[in-house]
């Protein structure tokens, strides 16, 4: 019984810590969407989809592989591990078939890039999202 309680406590702790790091999808305000499907997001973040339906270029922004924000977004929103995403990028970059996403170091930089870059897409913690960017839900 004690073990069960302990497992529950650990589980709760994990839930809390992961929700503390949870991030939401954000885009530049000029992109007129309320939500995107997970399959579309996978195509965008694996750098295989390069333009929005209105023809504007998609600009993908990510944080470092080892940041909790990136790990959280990869695993919980895209459903892949950061190392899988990196391999997908490397395959594109070194076969001439695609380009790498742009890397930012902090959430402040992410916010600034999403706000100022037409066609930008990225992710931010809820606390760092404001009206200057558009928060999207994932279908």
């Amino acid at each position: 019984m004690t073990t069960n309680y302990r497992a529950f406590a650990v589980g709760l702790l994990l839930c809390l810590s992961s929700s503390a790091n949870s991030v939401d999808l954000v885009i530049n305000r000029d992109i007129d969407y309320e939500s995107l499907s997970r399959n579309t997001l996978r195509s965008i973040f694996s750098m295989r989809m390069t333009q929005w339906p209105n023809g504007k270029p998609i600009r993908v922004f990510v944080m470092g592989d080892k940041t909790s924000q990136h790990a959280n977004f990869s695993k919980h929103v895209l459903g892949v591990f950061p190392h899988q995403l990196r391999r997908a990028w490397n395959r594109q970059i070194f076969s001439g078939m695609g380009q790498a996403p742009m890397k930012v170091n902090t959430e402040a930089e992410m916010l600034q890039q999403i706000e100022n870059t037409p066609g930008a897409i990225g992710y931010l913690s809820e606390d760092n999202i404001n009206e200057r960017v558009r928060k999207l839900s994932v279908e």
Binding site: R48, T50, V80, R87, N90, I93, M97, Q99
Partner: protein, 402 residues
């Protein structure tokens, strides 16, 4: 710029130039390269390996410990519009006596998407492009993307690497996404850069073979991906004919069919990959014994990987290659050609560990136990009679990419 396998004279020059380019590109900050919103990008990689074998030579004079496995690449891409992109990559590859490290044009292509709707697209690539064969051919020289320090030789032969590496011509591509299902097709047509490694593998090196491609290499790949790559299934194929001249036999031709079936399951922490290759070879015009030597090579490998930590991956692989798929132990071929059977097959068990130190830096060590000598290069080994059947292979590799 040199053609494949050119003189060793420009080897040092190539390495120095590549090192300079890599250092200067990497010295630029992201913001400097970011002048055009990321539309212009520069990437590269540097790899150095140490190879040690108990018998035989693989990637250099490996019995004494070889440092002659080195790969340097630099590329640049520019996206003019969301649907058009140009990209170029230069490669210097030293691989024992097989490749001397001179500078090659790895690819130089223009890619245009003609139709696009969401994740669906149809387009064309023209120029020199890497062939999309199996799961790994198009980035086989990038240590971070391949499944081990060496490509599984059962599918991705290093001794005849150029036969399938790239093409000068055109490629049509199409992607279709339906819910969780993604279908990709690539059709290729073009000239394949043939080199000495190919010439001296498909014909006896003592005959001084010289080959030229007759017509075009035609083929392609069909790929099905489920749930963002959780499961992948692919069929790849290429067909080419080589006209050959030798010092002894009448002129003839070698017809090559290359087919690969690939399956992969990825489950985050672990993955399982199976690839099978068969390659019917048809010799004609040389007369006698040579023309009667038609065979179908085949081979497969099964690899399992497990991620111990976010940055640590353990892998195990078993592979087999056969000179004649009907004669898996090489005995009949050995009798016919008067050589020992181990020259006509290989069975390899490999265990390896990959450490991703940072986003760009990897270190990988692996150990293989090998029975057979089929994938050893004629360019760096003594005649088949003098090769050892059982041997071990150890390698340590460090690679940096950006």
């Amino acid at each position: 710029m040199s053609v494949y396998g050119s003189s060793p004279l420009n080897k040092c020059w190539a390495i120095r130039l590549m090192a300079l380019l890599l250092l200067s590109a990497n010295g630029l900050s992201a913001s400097q390269l970011d002048q055009l919103d990321g539309a212009l990008q520069v990437h590269g990689f540097l790899t150095q390996a140490y190879v040690k074998t108990t018998e035989n030579s693989f990637f250099g004079d490996s019995q004494d410990g070889s440092w002659d496995f080195r790969e340097l690449g630099i590329n640049s891409s520019y996206r003019f519009t969301p649907s058009t992109m140009a990209s170029i990559q230069l490669l210097s590859r030293r691989a024992g006596e097989m490749y001397d490290g001179s500078l090659d044009l790895d690819y130089a292509q223009l890619d245009a998407t003609i139709y696009t709707a969401d994740a669906n697209r149809v387009g064309i690539i023209v120029g020199r492009y890497k062939n999309p064969f199996g799961l790994y051919n198009d980035t086989r020289d990038v240590a971070a993307t391949r499944p081990g320090n060496f490509m599984p030789q059962a599918i991705y032969w290093d001794r005849v690497r150029n036969m399938v590496l790239s093409n000068d011509g055109a490629q049509l591509f199409g992607d279709l996404q339906v819910d969780e299902h993604r279908f990709s097709i690539r059709l290729i047509g073009g000239k394949t850069p043939i080199d000495e490694n190919v010439e001296k593998s498909y014909l006896n090196p003592l005959l001084d073979p010289e080959m030229e491609q007759d017509g075009l290499t035609l083929g392609g790949r069909l790929l099905y991906e489920w749930d963002g790559g959780r499961f992948n299934l692919a069929y790849s194929s290429a067909h080419l004919t080589l006209d050959a001249e030798t010092s002894l036999l009448p002129d003839g031709e070698v017809e090559i069919d290359y087919q690969v079936l690939s399956a992969q399951y990825n489950s985050g922490r672990w993955s399982l990959t199976l690839e099978y290759m068969q390659e019917p070879l048809n010799y004609s015009g040389f007369g006698g014994l040579m023309d009667a030597g038609d065979t179908t090579l085949d081979g497969y490998y099964l690899q399992g990987t497990y991620r111990l930590r976010d940055d640590l991956e353990l892998f195990a692989r078993y592979e087999e290659s056969h000179y004649d798929k009907q004669d898996k132990r090489g005995e009949k071929t050995a009798q016919r050609l008067g050589l020992e059977a181990h020259n006509f097959y290989s069975r390899v068990s490999t265990l390896g560990l990959l450490w991703e130190v940072t986003e760009g830096l990897i270190v990988r060590g692996e150990f293989s136990q090998v029975d057979g000598t089929i994938f050893l290069s004629n360019l760096e080994n003594p005649p088949p009679q003098m090769r050892s059947r059982n041997w071990n292979l150890f390698s340590l590799l460090v690679s940096y990419s950006f």
